[in-house]
Amino acid sequence: MDKQQRIKEWQEKTARSMNRFPERKERFHTSSDIEVERLYGTEEEHYPMEFLGLPGEYPYTRGSQSTMYRARFWTMRQYAGFGSAEETNKRFRYLLDQGQTGLSVAFDLPTQIGYDSDHSMSRGEVGKVGVAIDSIEDMEALLKDIPLDKVSTSMTINAPASVLLAMYIAVAEKQGVATEKLSGTIQNDILKEYIARGTYIFPPKPSMRLITDIFGYCQENVPKWNTISISGYHIREAGANAAQELAFTIANGLAYVDAAIEAGLNIDDFAPRLAFFFNAHNQFFEEVAKFRAARRMWAKLMKEHYGAKNPKSWQLRFHTQTGGSTLTAQQPDNNIVRVTTQALSAVLGGTQSLHTNSRDEALALPTEDSARIALRTQQILAHETGVADTVDPLAGSYYVEHLTDELERKANEYIEKINVMGGAVAAVEQGYMQREIHHTSYETQKKIESGQEIIVGMNKFTIENEPQPELLRVDPTLGEKQKEKLQALKAKRDQNRVSAQLESLRAAAKGKDNLMPIIVECVKSYCTIGEICGVLREEFGEYTGV
């Protein structure tokens, strides 16, 4: 019996048995509304090597390196930071002792928005969602006794990324570490701030200049630094589906490439330092497919559209974090299981580094216990399951390859639309991505409320009288302490030098020169982040939303 005949008979048999045992749903689909068939592999589908490539080879569908985790596991990089620089420094050293291999700094919101701790908008926020940094003094305390030539550091900082990077560079110099040896990442992705995350300061145009200034400066001075982490993570958290996350992230990436080329940079000089950051959400196979599609899309765009010659320019390297918005406040221990499957999808998708969320993040900042379980989850995946022992193990799965193709197709449709609007910057200014995301997020909410989508422990399998777990509290007096520290600094620093540096920053902001060198001089003179961003606010104006 030939294959087609056999499949036909199977289909008829299945149809008969479905009369008696109907399927759970009339229609199965992924988060991106890709139709999910009963069975894949019944048609003659081929995924030839020229199409998928081999690991470490164009178009990198199968991974950005040839040996992947057989050589070295992904970097286990837990995002942490709260309270004062001293407290966060302790947590960092604890995590490094526990076997974490890279640092990831969370800054508090005043720092992220360029306000000092004593600004009126900072009340209640100092040290809450991350560490409070006002000046280079705080940065020194944060990095005390951490060998900056050995540890790579990721900093989630966007609008004032230049200032924090300048502080990091200045502290490294004080520690006697050459800037060429520094490795790490700044997020520095302003477009997704306008779209989804909300910690913007300046309007798009000067923001893009700050970003390309960093590209140019690091190319010369901090060559191992990842100058941007183009982030789909927050776009997904804001409610986008997998295809939207993929599309809007890549579209933003193209906007940065265009801006850098326009600023006179050569693609093969800056593109190898671009990094990406994705979300690992619940729908397992779709997520694996998303990571694989992202690599392939970026490689094609860099090589074919931009004509990049250096293979490193083609490679999309990415960090992944498990989906914070998938965590439930109800039965929080269930979140450990969600995080595990999400993390597994990132590993099978070939991530370069990974943050696993803590079970209690829908309730408060994670406790030390919860943070440890989250890290252990990664260590168990790495050391016990064997999933890291071969490269791209899901390749060739009819279903996963189909989803990879479909996500690429859907994302390309969005990117085409965005191109017609004039690119990602124009689309953001028109509120296009924001509207698309809100639409998807509201539809998801309705499906959850109607029970069409099940969230275990929240709208099904609920329990009465949830136990109330212990939560982490940030020192409530921290805001005052930080203000005192800031006043003491202002009293002892050389005020004339501060004023002079701020004035030269103002002059540079009016012109076209790269702002990074002067910002480095500002932080070395103990100018605060609020003062530096204050001058730039006056020169550039502030973004106020669509």
């Binding site: 306000y115 908008m121 009340r123 958290e237 406040a329 829908a362 309730l363 997020s441 509201y442």
Partner: protein, 283 residues
Amino acid sequence: MKKTIRVLIAKPGLDGHDRGALVVSQALRDYGMEVIYTGLRQAPEQIAAAAVQEDVDAIGLSCLSGAHNELFPEVMRLLHEKGADDIIVVGGGVIPWEDIPFLESKGIQKVFTPGTPTIETAKFIEQAVYKRDGITENVFSGVAPERIDHIGIAVKSLDEALPFYVNVLGLTLEAIEEVPSQKVKVAFIKIGETRLELLEALTAESPVAQFIEKRGQGVHHVALGVTNIQDRIDEMKSNGIKMIHDAAVPGAGGASVAFMHPSSTHKVLFELCEKTKSKEEAK
């Protein structure tokens, strides 16, 4: 007329997580409220000023940064200062359970934590506003229907369908009659205090024929038993319900009936149906 509740959804503090605020805003709008959303990074002073200026009934504060203990009470203090204590204030976001009693002691009426269905938030605000305004009888001032008078079921052929009801289910066929106004032949089957009304089209233009053409046989309408049908029709219209019949028409069994338009009733075809007293008693 139903009072339109005005709500200010506000994001105090610096966090940019507005997914929840946007979803709740839209859900409250869909519920029929007027919603003003402030946008991100609003100082308590801005929120209190906007609430007074926009003359809102309620404020929803959303904060995911952990600054709620400082910022929510500050909003309450400023509202008090402006003499706007009567505004109902609720909160949401990532708020640890142990902070909720403190926030409630500061006048926040309710804190909705992650996973709360939006309808629960909408209901809470509505009830709180009605309570404040002394609107006791909810929104409803008319007379509610008294019973399900009958359920109408469209069939292709009475002859084919009746044996199921009579021989299989064992119900009693009460009567068969023609209703010229609807171009239908009707069989009444008694079940407890209510009836099933099987409808067979007499002509191709009959509404029942059109129904079967479009959707096939099946449940066609639900008849609500009322008294003083014309008053009920007027009440429905004053509540913005579209009526197929603005005045009662003669229905089967000597009843006076009027249909409501499904576009106003979430896609269910409802009939208001009044039977004369003598007829009811005769049965």
